[in-house]
């Protein structure tokens, strides 16, 4: 029967959907190889690949809208033995965000990196893109491990790109932390494989949720797997007590790299955490305690990260700590989702996207300011910001989304979360969400305030190309306009395979 079904759907599903999905993985990979082979035109190649990537995502989206969520067995080998590709609304959104932010960062990088530095940047960036695309299309936990590792290694390499002292030690710390996280995740994978004999998420989910599986799930191996995978992914996501590696790494990397790291890389591990938590670990995490713990971490992250951001004297560190705070919002899904499924789910998905756009815009702005004035000391920004109006505008618009002021993507996300917490009577979460917004306003305006203060001392400045300014601005505008696009985005999010998201009641 199953084979018959597969044969029936095969000819109709394969040609286009799979073409796009496979292109998404292969295209950047080919790009990497070409960049190594032809370093002279790596810039063109990188730009081209990013562009083609956007088109492929668009194609995939089109197909998914036509045919609903999609599953593809690579090389014709399906689960449990082979590797499956899977795309639903969430992964499509992540892919689209990656593609758009990636394109903007590529455009930015063409102007940011001098040819010599660019030769190293482009292949690694495309490698990162490959990892991200594959990660979002993957459906099995081991494959996720491989992509996660590939992602971390390329991210670390990018962080170290400038070769400065801070960058290198930041990268080193980042690398060690993320290796530790990967290994603990891998150990979790091993334990799960041992218990269930599969690494495919949907199969694992079925097994865990089957009524007969109550005994099977209640083994130390599964508990340990949850602990190991959860902790590993949280370390990679840099949730509150484990965020120590993030500010130095994000603060010292080149601007486009910081943008990539903050906007996309940490989201990837969070994506995996989300997927696992609400599918195969769902029977285990039903208890309030564990979700409350994650929610508590999220709340602490919001408050702590914001306070730290306010205390910073350097712009990039400020933005990095703001990322720490914003990750906290994402973790609010854990206490909220069990009862307020779709609201919390929608809210967090929206926050992921809008944060990606806004935070990348912010880092790009920081890059512009750094390039223009040669420093990113906040107290001396008055000499800089005035003379880069586009950048200042971009920073302010991105700030609007981060603060969650309407009409922006950030507002929609926070509104949905607020609604979810209120419906559930979680006033503590309401308070934290709102206070986080207020604190965000404090650190955002700490920077914006300088926009209007004419400097007493001006210093010589380096030109910042229009491309760098506009890519930041467009990202920021995107973050704000996202506030008006909630209906299409949320309807996209609801495309899913019943088995995958059954836990959140979509």
């Amino acid at each position: 029967m199953a084979i018959e079904n597969a044969l029936m759907t095969f000819p109709m599903a394969f040609p286009l959907v799979s073409l796009f999905a496979v292109t998404l993985i292969l295209l950047p990979l080919v790009g990497v190889i070409c960049c190594f082979l032809m370093p002279r035109i790596s810039r063109t190649l990188g730009l081209f690949t990013s562009f083609a990537n956007v088109i492929s995502v668009a194609g995939l989206g089109w197909q998914i809208l036509e045919h609903d969520s999609y599953r593809h067995a690579v090389g014709g080998w399906g689960a449990p033995l082979g590797i499956e590709l899977y795309a639903d609304g969430l992964s499509l959104l992540m892919l689209a965000t990656t593609a758009i932010v990636g394109l903007a960062i590529s455009v930015y990088s063409t102007a940011y990196f001098k040819p010599a530095a660019g030769v190293r940047f482009w292949p690694i960036w495309l490698c990162l893109l490959t990892a991200l695309n594959t990660l979002f299309l993957s459906e099995d936990i081991f494959n996720l491990y491989v992509t996660l590792e590939l992602l971390s290694l390329s991210a670390v390499a990018l962080t170290a790109l400038t070769g400065s002292k801070e960058a290198l030690s930041g990268a080193m710390r980042y690398l060690l932390a993320s290796l530790l996280a990967s290994l603990s995740y891998l150990l979790g994978v091993v334990l799960l494989y041992h218990s269930f004999g599969s690494v495919d998420i949907s199969i694992l989910t079925q097994q865990m949720q089957a009524p007969s599986a109550t005994l099977a799930t209640a083994t130390p191996a599964v508990w340990a797997a949850l602990g190991l995978m959860g902790a590993g992914l949280m370390l990679k996501t840099a949730i509150f007590p484990l965020h120590f590696w993030l500010p130095p790494a994000h603060g010292s990397a080149p601007a486009p790299v910081s943008a990539l790291l903050s906007a996309l890389v940490i989201k990837a591990s969070f994506y995996i955490l989300l997927r696992l938590w609400f599918t195969l670990f769902e029977p285990l995490v039903d208890s309030q305690a564990i979700n409350s713990l994650l929610g508590l971490l999220g709340c602490t992250a919001i408050l702590w990260g914001s306070v730290q951001a306010i205390r910073q004297t350097r712009l990039k560190l400020l933005i990095a700590y703001s990322t720490v705070a914003q990750i906290g919002y994402l973790f609010l899904i854990f206490p909220l989702a069990p009862n307020m499924g779709s609201l919390a789910w929608n809210g967090v998905a929206y926050l992921i996207i809008s944060h990606a756009l806004a935070k990348s815009a912010m880092f790009l702005c920081a890059g512009n300011l750094l390039r223009f004035g040669g420093h990113d000391r906040i107290a001396d920004l008055d000499r800089v910001v005035q003379r880069l109006p586009l950048t200042a505008a971009a920073f302010a618009l991105a700030g609007v989304s981060i603060m969650g002021i309407p009409p922006s993507g950030g507002f929609i996300g926070k509104w949905l979360l607020l609604e979810a917490s209120m419906n559930q009577g979680r006033w503590d979460l309401v308070a934290v969400i709102v206070i986080g917004g207020l604190l965000a306003a404090v650190y955002i305006f700490k920077v914006i305030g300088y926009t209007f203060i004419p400097a007493k001392v001006t210093h010589e400045a380096h030109a910042v190309s229009a491309r760098m300014q506009w890519s930041a601005l467009l990202l920021a505008i995107g973050a704000v306009l996202l506030g008006f696009l909630s209906l299409p985005v949320l309807s996209l999010l609801n495309i899913s395979d019943a088995t995958i998201t059954s836990g959140v009641g979509l």
């Binding site: 508990w223 602990g227 190991l228 959860g230 902790a231 590993g232 370390l235 484990l242």
Partner: protein, 435 residues
Amino acid sequence: MNIEFYTTTLWIAVIWPLLLSIPAVHKRLPWPRYLAIIPAVLLTVSPIDASINIPWLLYGTGFAIDGNVRWILGAFVVIWLTTVSITLPSNEKSPFSSTLYLLTLTGSLGALLTTDLVGFFSSTTLMGYSFYGLLNQNADKTQQRAARLYLYFLITADLALFEALLLVAFTTQYFQFEVARQAMSEISSSSVYLYMVLLGFMLKAGIWPFYIWLTATFNSGTRVIALLLIASPITISLLGLLRWLPLRDDIYITGLVMQLLGASAILHSVLKIFTRLIFKQALFKHGMVYFTTAWLLIAFTGLFSLVLGTALLNPALWQQYVYLVYPFIAITSITLTILILVTGKNHRKPESTDDVFVLINKLFHKLKKWHQTTQQLASQLQLTVKSLWNNSGSFVSRQYQQVLNDKNNKSFLTSWKLNITLFLILGLALTWLAI
């Protein structure tokens, strides 16, 4: 000369001085102060009663002239012309002074001719404040003080009248004098209205015991001011009293009080004048004329109050003889005018000591000082709190610095060992909670 001509003249009489009051206009015209009053003169000399309704203005106001008003208007015009003719040429040339002068005229004429409460109130406001401006023209210290005293009384009076007006609006939708008075005398709770009206107009007209501002202004001002005082605030306020006051049977106690006040006023003035006469023997020496006239004026308003008290005691009788009151006001004010004119030429201002005024001033300064002290205290407190926090040696900031000093990623909180241990604990915690 048909009736329409007079109707038109009615509102022109009010608008015309207002138009002339604009400096750009009256600077270009000869004798603007004479010109301004021409329509009013026309209205006075013509025997025809006229009225006009202006429904779109305010709450539907209107202007009207009848025999009663003509008496007052006549007196008003006479005094006004006199004033203009004795005004010094130097003053005549000051455009600013002319503006105030003409605004006072506009307000007075508006109040005289209007047919409703709101129009009357608006006009008297304009008149009152412009007159305050006139008092301040080229004023020395004493005059300014007197002017300010007048202002205090004016504001208080206006407030009282505003309350009265609110009560009218609460009772009826119509503000024509007759209708409103009728309505107010029919409802049971009109005593508040009555008190407010009495208070307001007694303040405005300087009726005893509220005469302080009147003597102060009168004594310190020039002849022109004295004449204007009679023409504008006092006459018109008395007219207002006639128009606003409701008449009812059950308020005779108020009537008695009014009579008492009137009698005291007359007694007081007579005593004042006679003591001066006896002790100083200087009734007609310079300076004293003014003094006497002022007290005559108070006696006159006192008489009015006596009459009004009678009216309150016996409304029927009052209705019968009310028409006599208008010529009475007109003739008395003209008499006073002549008195001032004849005797006040060599007038020298006496020293005035307004105890009330000094008291108010003192109070104000005390308030100011108190405010400054509180502000100083507040800023001191703020400073103390700030220094507690900012002081680098303080315990709070030292701890804060130690824990959070992560400038070079060297703080305890960001150390590798601590964080990886936390990672371990988190993993264990998750596992434990999953069980």
